[in-house]
Symmetry: C2
Subunit: 443 residues, 2 copies
């Protein structure tokens, strides 16, 4: 962490002027089965700024996208918002016109209760796909949550819990830094454990080059009291997401609901940041840190996950090549099962690189292991040939719960990395569904 | 099966003039561990035609390709061959110059013993990656196998067993049909159970459009006594592989060694088939059947596999779209684990279609189930909306050990299918490796 950043408690209510709440309104009422929401009591959260805020968002590029995503994409374009209503237990995806009407009704009721226009309210959902929202419960939930809004850390804890589905724990962070001498804070919460390989864009539209294998729903909500323009905030969020949420994979499946939203309410009273402002870099560094730490929490808490591996590809001909090679390795069933076993199986790794869309030349490839972030690399393969490193040494490196996998293609100067998990029997058991319980349907 | 085709025993020795053998020469000597070759006693096979034969081949498009593939790609171009030497237990991949010399030495010794030029001998390998071949054992194995060549069905059984790695059983087929009144036979054997999503081309070079997610080694060796020209044979093999081996997936990983070879020795004495011959269609139909049945055996015998699902995508805008959508579904960890659980989870299916490279419109998508090959479809989703079909009915459809999954995009006229397996705890357990046993390294 940059020395200019300081950890603070309270996540999304750490910045000035933000309130949160999280309650149970029985959206998860069917959630008794394995792979579902058993034991999670909260299922609806509100996040509110006391004053209108600048907003930025990034959304799934899945062509099948949920109603709340559609609503947010349009509203974020206007650059201003003041509240977010989020539920777990139902994704409001593949729910047609009714789903869209329900998503808007959620924002309408929230706005009415909080005395703001519906258009100033954003919405997020995660859970079962293809079932319309239990709106009577949702309405009573929003009413209850609006009553309970507060800026104590417990309020943020309850919101972070309310957005969880298969997550084993809430995911939260907040940092403080200075802009022009003024203390500024960024806080965030997120959720996600399976159906995780986000590929988000600002509009939900796909980039010209579709990232290879775009793919649990992840939701993240970030608050800051920085004063910043909408364009600058969107640019900063895109940059931060590109190096965090869009670089993680648990199972290679991209959700219909992936969403990151940032509200910046300006109450820190710093000189307002624009796209050309030199202090923007300080804000960017802080936002990058918040997004990256949240993204890593998702991988570490992935369904059945026992290993956290950073796949670092260097020396590719192009960024697209580096991206393709890193995703092929990070999503290979054979590579991920070998990680689970602590098996330093470079044969499967070079195999995956070889079938990726990246240009690869066998006798140029280096593969090695290091401790997280270390450049002290134990090489298993150099220029396509096994090194003298012993199998025992390699096993010790691959036995670590967290390690970096270094892949050098030695063909160019482009690099990319992916934060990836192993594939375990527990993942399969968790996701094989429970046909006695329809609530396990969906993502 | 076409009424013009008749099943016959003997697989690769069913056609006239072919001999085979399979022996143990201790290439698998280290194979005591789980995930390896435990209990499989044979590890080297010979397949020989009594007369020089026309040859055709299809090879992995993985850029990391094994030495025997490199040797075969060059030799198949000449259009003539007479023998194939194959070993299991060592893939001879990522073995550099020594590997290439070893592969050629295998063909040289085989040629010497069988009194034919080395260039007339082809070679295949499967097993551990990155370890040079135990050539003393290989040499004594080739000598033993050459002594044991025979045309009894047991000889084919032994060859089929000798090419197995994680396969639970040998895979064989032979058919008879008529060309111009003359009885003609095609026989084949194959192996493969993990690292299975072949994407083969005639030269090992990638097509302009890399099939999405090309990816256990599969080897298949096919013999026929048909008289056919090299160009016609290669064209027929490309067509047959495009609809069989290149449409299967177990785990989405394409091997470094995938190879299909056909020897056609002409001893049936039919009028020689050329590319413009009307009877070529009869031969094509028979070859398609042999390749498809062998390919399906690989999926059904895949590591830990309990379900065989044919993913049928129709109504895509283009073949590339149909291909991308079918591969995204067939390789989705979440879809495959739901199949294991017998869970008719259409939310995960439409999610996978939506993140594929195919153009998809939510309110046009139909998803349904049928018995294998049946057009009596139980629809779970029509035009993006759940049908009235009950969850119980859908569960019954998804509980079948084999079923067809029908996906209609309703945007165009292109279609594609994939033969796919589920993803099970046994797959993970099998592939997590055994760090006490280095033989489990590699594919």
């Amino acid at each position: 962490m940059s020395k200019h950043l300081k950890s603070v408690p309270g996540s999304i209510v750490a910045p000035q002027g933000f309130l949160a709440s999280g309650i149970f309104c029985d959206i998860k009422r069917l959630g008794t089965g394995k792979g579902s929401n058993k034991g999670l009591k909260r299922d609806l959260a509100l996040i509110v700024s006391e004053v209108p805020a600048t907003v930025a968002g990034m959304f799934t590029t899945n062509q099948i996208c949920a109603a709340p995503v559609k609503v947010c994409v349009e509203r974020v374009k206007r650059g201003k918002a003041q509240a977010i209503v989020v539920n777990s237990g139902n994704a409001n995806a593949c729910t047609g016109r009714q789903g869209l009407a329900d998503a808007k009704a959620m924002t309408g009721l929230t706005g009415k209760l909080l005395h703001m226009p519906a258009e100033q309210v954003l919405v997020g959902s995660t859970g079962r796909i293809g079932v319309t929202m239990p709106m009577a419960n949702v309405r009573s939930g929003i009413e209850a949550a609006a009553q309970l809004l507060g800026n104590e850390p417990e309020c943020a804890d309850e919101a972070a819990e309310a957005i969880m589905t298969s997550d084993s724990k809430p995911k939260q962070i907040a940092v403080e830094f200075k802009l022009g001498g003024k203390p500024v804070r960024i806080g965030g919460i997120c959720k996600g454990a399976g159906m995780i390989q986000p590929g988000m864009s600002a509009t939900g539209a796909r980039p010209a080059a579709v990232p290879q294998g775009l793919h649990a729903t992840m939701l993240s909500f970030i608050t800051t009291d920085a004063a910043i323009g909408a364009k600058a905030l969107q640019a900063c969020l895109q940059e931060a997401v590109a190096h965090s949420f869009n670089r993680i994979t648990v199972d290679g499946d991209m959700s219909t609901n992936d969403t990151v939203l940032v509200l910046a309410n300006g109450l820190a009273a710093n000189a307002k940041l624009g796209t050309r402002n030199a202090e923007l870099k300080t804000f960017q560094t802080a936002l990058n840190h918040v997004c990256l730490e949240l993204a890593k929490m998702i991988v570490r808490d992935g369904e059945g996950v026992t290993r956290f591996v950073t796949v670092r590809v260097e020396g590719a001909k192009s960024h697209a090549d580096a991206d393709a090679a890193s995703r092929a390795v990070a999503n290979s069933a054979l590579v991920k099962t070998s990680w689970f076993g602590g098996d330093p199986n470079w044969g499967r790794i070079i195999d995956a690189i070889g079938y990726s869309a990246a240009t690869v030349v066998e006798n140029k490839v280096d593969i090695g292991y290091s401790a997280p972030g270390s450049r002290k690399i134990l090489w298993s393969l150099k220029r396509g040939q096994p090194t003298k490193t012993t199998f025992k040494q390699l096993c010790a490196a691959a036995a670590a719960k967290e390690f970096d996998l270094h892949i050098r293609l030695n063909l160019g100067r482009a690099s990319a990395l992916m934060y990836a998990s192993d594939l375990t029997e527990e993942y399969v058991d968790f996701n094989k569904g429970d046909v006695s319980d329809p609530t396990t349907l969906g993502g």
